[in-house]
């Protein structure tokens, strides 16, 4: 996810092919080095969907279809903002 742009595909490949896996690992490290968080959406675990936050490529399940990178969370604005509809 990129602010102002939404979803952008960074890299695609098959982890079973060493050359493509290397490219995926490089892209993964590049994003984490840039301060992004990485999440892998997982399918129904105990009747609900959730995400796994991963900090290393080795933590990504081999059968994962995708890893989503998003800016790391930070405390929001402390000031009172306008609310209501």
């Amino acid at each position: 996810m990129k602010p102002g742009h939404g979803e952008i595909v960074l890299a695609e490949g098959d982890v079973e092919i060493p050359e493509q896996e290397r490219e995926l690992i490089e892209a993964f490290r590049r994003e984490l080095d840039a301060g992004m968080w990485a999440a892998v959406p997982t399918n129904d675990v105990g009747g609900r969907r959730q995400a796994e936050l991963v900090k290393d490529f080795a933590e990504v399940p081999r059968d994962a279809e995708r890893v989503i990178f998003f800016p790391r969370a930070a405390g929001g604005a402390p000031g009172r903002a306008a609310s209501g509809r």
């Binding site: 959406p41 959730q50 995400a51 402390p78 609310s83």
Partner: protein, 213 residues
């Protein structure tokens, strides 16, 4: 004497110009190119549909990650409700000790599902650290998905990163109460529809409802 000095000055100026001309011309050429590029960007850089397309992509991404029930909730009510504790808790049952409401670009609101009591607000943002000043925001649905992923992925980490405030700091408590009432009504109606669908599916087959061959 004066004529000689004047001639020497003119020769000096011409020599200096000849020496400096290549770098001056190169600098002028660079400045011209930069000016032209800036003009091109101002003519084509603004795309009024970009944010709309980004939001559309974000909605598709969110839909592909959350459950069908959660997607229906977001598309119909404009918010997501995540029951806590996130790991090992139930998705719909009323026995959860607390739950979170996720709004786009607003704090996460924690509440007690049984009583509707508001517990706290967790102000959290996902800033673009590569552009610390004036960075653009995530599209609404990406902001919701980022909160959802961070919450379901590591509830403690997200809560520890957020600024916690009492209810009412940024989100109007009356609005949250109205949203909780809408959510409760939505859940009743949805479970009613699901029960009706399930009872129809398990109804005994009578001659009147045997499907045509």
């Amino acid at each position: 004497m004066g004529l000689a000095l004047g001639t020497a000055a003119v020769v000096l100026v011409v020599l200096l110009w000849e020496l400096a001309r290549p770098s001056v011309m190169a600098a002028l050429s660079r400045a011209r190119a930069a000016w032209a590029e800036r003009g091109l960007q101002s003519a084509t850089g603004y795309d009024p549909g970009r944010e709309r397309r980004a939001e559309q992509r974000a909605r598709e991404l969110l839909r592909s990650c959350v459950s069908e029930r959660e997607w229906d909730m977001y598309s119909e009510l404009g918010l997501l409700c995540v029951r806590g504790p996130v790991r090992g808790g139930a998705e719909t049952a009323g026995e959860s000790p607390y739950a979170y409401l996720i709004y786009p670009h607003k704090p996460i609101v924690a509440f007690v599902p049984e009583s509707g009591e508001l517990l706290s607000e967790y102000c959290v943002a996902f800033p673009d650290e590569s552009r610390p000043y004036g960075s653009a925001r995530l599209p609404d649905s990406d902001d919701v998905l980022a909160k959802w992923m961070a919450l379901t992925g590591d509830e403690r980490r997200l809560i520890s990163e957020a600024n916690m405030h009492l209810p009412g700091r940024q989100v109007d408590p009356d609005r949250v109460r109205r949203d909780l009432a809408r959510l409760s009504r939505w859940e009743r109606e949805r479970s009613g529809r699901e029960q009706a669908g399930s009872s129809r599916a398990h109804a005994p087959q009578t001659p009147g409802n045997v499907p045509a061959a």
